[in-house]
């Protein structure tokens, strides 16, 4: 397992994982600083950012000291020079999930954070354009949430005027 970068905030829980060389579980407060530390430690690219709704698994197994919450934001960082992957999983909250935006570190997270907001309703504070990206502007709800059933809402069309 690779160590945390020296500039990482103290007390970040880590675990080995299948998906990456290192899995980190920062709190929401540590999240941005931790990613910044990774960026300074030659993790040049934020490859992927997505969110998961753990509504049905609020008691899932996490490293000791990490309080599980309903929403989790998962960030995959990649170091091209070291050929390593690191995954950062931050517990984003239950009712109003919100974490800091990584836009100022990795501008490429712009679309990914918008997607996470659009489909799961996780807010990213500091994001320059927190709008929907895949769903129509006037869509209600966030389809990838677990309490949003498949096919529950009839197909919505834009407010089209009647036959002209």
């Amino acid at each position: 397992m690779i160590p945390l970068p020296p500039a990482a905030p103290p007390g970040v829980a880590t675990a080995e994982s299948l998906a990456a060389d290192l899995g980190c579980f920062p709190t929401r407060e540590q999240y941005f600083e931790l990613v910044r530390a990774f960026k300074d430690d030659a993790f040049e690219m934020c490859v992927d950012l997505c969110a998961v709704d753990y509504l049905e698994h609020l008691d899932r197994a996490l490293p000791e000291g990490v309080a599980p919450s309903r929403f989790e934001v998962v960030v995959n960082l990649l170091s091209l020079s070291k050929r390593q992957r690191v995954r950062v999983r931050v517990q984003a909250g239950d009712a109003d999930p919100e974490v800091a935006s990584l836009f100022s570190l990795y501008p490429g997270t712009e679309a990914m954070e918008r997607e996470a907001f659009d489909l799961l309703g996780v807010l990213f504070s500091g994001h320059p354009d927190m709008t929907r990206i895949l769903m129509p502007e006037d869509w209600e709800g966030h389809p990838l949430r677990k309490d949003y059933a498949v096919g529950r809402v009839p197909v919505q069309f834009k407010e089209a005027p009647g036959p002209r």
Binding site: L18, M45, H57, V74, N76, P107, M112, P143, L144, V150
Partner: protein, 450 residues
């Protein structure tokens, strides 16, 4: 009595309301804050000032001097249903924004209601030009969670099919790129050669486009009899003809004029935007997952990672053309070194039994029934597996809760991320170059919108 001009005006309002994307669209300058405008112009969508030249930011420009026009979503040069909003000053693109989602069909949500056996049919439809890549990313993620080994023959078949798929996808790219630039003969040639590969896919998997051929545990069927000859013909033909494309396009003055030096991107910008694939390699970064983090048996075959220098349209063209040849090289090595043995894992919990076994074995019948009704259970956990698809890093983030369906299936689509480079590449260029930018970024909208 009604005034016709008023009627037209009302009608325009109606039309505008119907086609508006609200806040997702590109806003007029009068409605855009200075901060945002600077950021948009600087990095166009929205890098924090990486390439900002303060002289370029003209905040004082009035709305009536410039025009926002739509390109797409039904424009033939947008390769699907990409909608581009372009802010134009005459023929120059000042700002631009991509509006996506027109092909969004909730495939990640669908992935949560299909079990792992059925999942392949869902993911194969995402990037419809690289079905093998999608299935491979998905299958490798499932296999990692299951911790099962794939037999060597399956690994090499997967590699063979993935490289054939890379060739076919790049051939389509050569074809459509030619079409975008007015070289319509290239369009015909590209699709002609691709047909060879699709015919081989049909022979092997039974389908031409959405194959569902690579499945967790191996592949769906063994290679057909006489596959060596077919593959050899494909390699010989495509390699030989790739030199004809060279003659047709590479030195042609009109083609060069629209490709060389147009829409460059720097390595830092590409890295910051998370761009991967030929777009990243065109800037000179030799990043290819097949070489950097080998999967399948890519560490056992010889091939070159093609890199560019300037990051312009021409580099991206040259990279794709040469990758066709490199893929043919890998395919030839697969041909020589294809091991014998099983083409799928013999774990009965994952792989359905052969048809003949069902008639004679009760156990086989039960396994078959369980697999195709309930599917197999995957241990709880989460995994991210990435492969190098034609368009860049195709990642699959899979969360399992121990059931027979993925709890969350997220696909890191390379086109979705690469699309963020489009506004940056278009900025300051001509409207006609906007066409080549979309073309050389090579987004597949099925994958962008999922």
């Amino acid at each position: 009595m009604s005034d016709p001009t008023i009627r037209v005006a009302e009608r325009l309002d109606v039309l505008a309301a119907e086609t508006s994307e609200g806040e997702q669209g590109l806003q007029q300058r009068s409605r855009t804050s200075k901060n945002e405008l600077g950021r948009e112009v600087g990095a166009v969508l929205r890098q924090s000032g990486l390439t900002l030249d303060p002289n370029d930011v003209d905040f004082e420009r009035r709305d009536d001097e410039i025009m926002i026009i739509n390109m797409g979503p039904a424009h033939p040069a947008t390769h699907g249903v990409l909608r581009l909003m372009l802010e134009l000053d005459g023929e120059f693109v000042l700002r631009s924004k991509t509006v996506i989602g027109y092909l969004h069909t909730g495939m990640e949500k669908t992935g949560e209601v299909l079990n792992y056996v059925q999942g392949g049919t869902n993911v194969t439809r995402m990037d419809y030009l690289s079905p093998i890549g999608n299935e491979l990313g998905y299958s490798m993620a499932v296999e990692k969670l299951l911790s099962i080994e794939v037999p060597p023959r399956a690994v090499w078949i997967r590699m063979l099919m993935a490289e054939l798929n890379r060739m076919s996808s790049h051939l389509v790219w050569m074809a459509t790129n030619g079409l975008d630039l007015g070289a319509s003969s290239m369009m015909i040639y590209g699709f002609r050669e691709r047909e060879l590969i699709l015919a081989f896919f049909e022979k092997t998997a039974g389908l031409r486009l959405n194959l569902n051929y690579v499945r967790p545990g191996g592949v769906a069927a063994d290679l057909p009899d006489g596959w060596e000859d077919d593959v050899l013909v494909i390699c010989d033909t495509v390699e030989e003809r790739s030199y004809e494309y060279d003659e047709l396009l590479t030195g042609q003055p009109i083609f060069r004029g629209r490709m060389v030096g147009v829409a460059p991107i720097a390595a830092e910008e590409a890295l910051a935007l998370g761009v991967t694939g030929p777009l990243l390699r065109s800037t000179g970064v030799p990043w290819d997952l097949r070489r950097a983090m080998p999967y399948l048996a890519y560490d056992q075959v010889e091939f070159d990672v093609i890199v560019g220098t300037y990051g312009d349209n021409f580099d991206r063209y040259a990279i794709r053309l040469n990758e066709i040849r490199e893929s043919a090289r890998i395919v030839r090595q697969c041909l020589e070194r294809m091991p014998s043995g099983d083409y799928r894992s013999q774990d009965p919990k994952v792989t359905p039994p052969p048809r003949a076994r069902i008639d004679e074995s009760m156990e086989a019948l039960i396994h078959h029934f369980k697999l195709f009704t309930e599917g197999f259970h995957v241990p709880a956990g989460e995994v991210y597996s990435a492969i190098e698809s034609q368009r860049g890093e195709l990642g699959c983030y899979l969360v399992s809760d121990g059931g027979s369906k993925p709890y969350r299936l997220h696909v890191r689509a390379p086109s979705f991320v690469n699309l963020q480079a489009v506004p940056l590449l278009m900025r300051g260029g001509l409207l006609s170059d906007a066409i080549t930018v979309v073309s050389t970024v090579d987004p597949v909208l099925g994958e962008v919108d999922r």
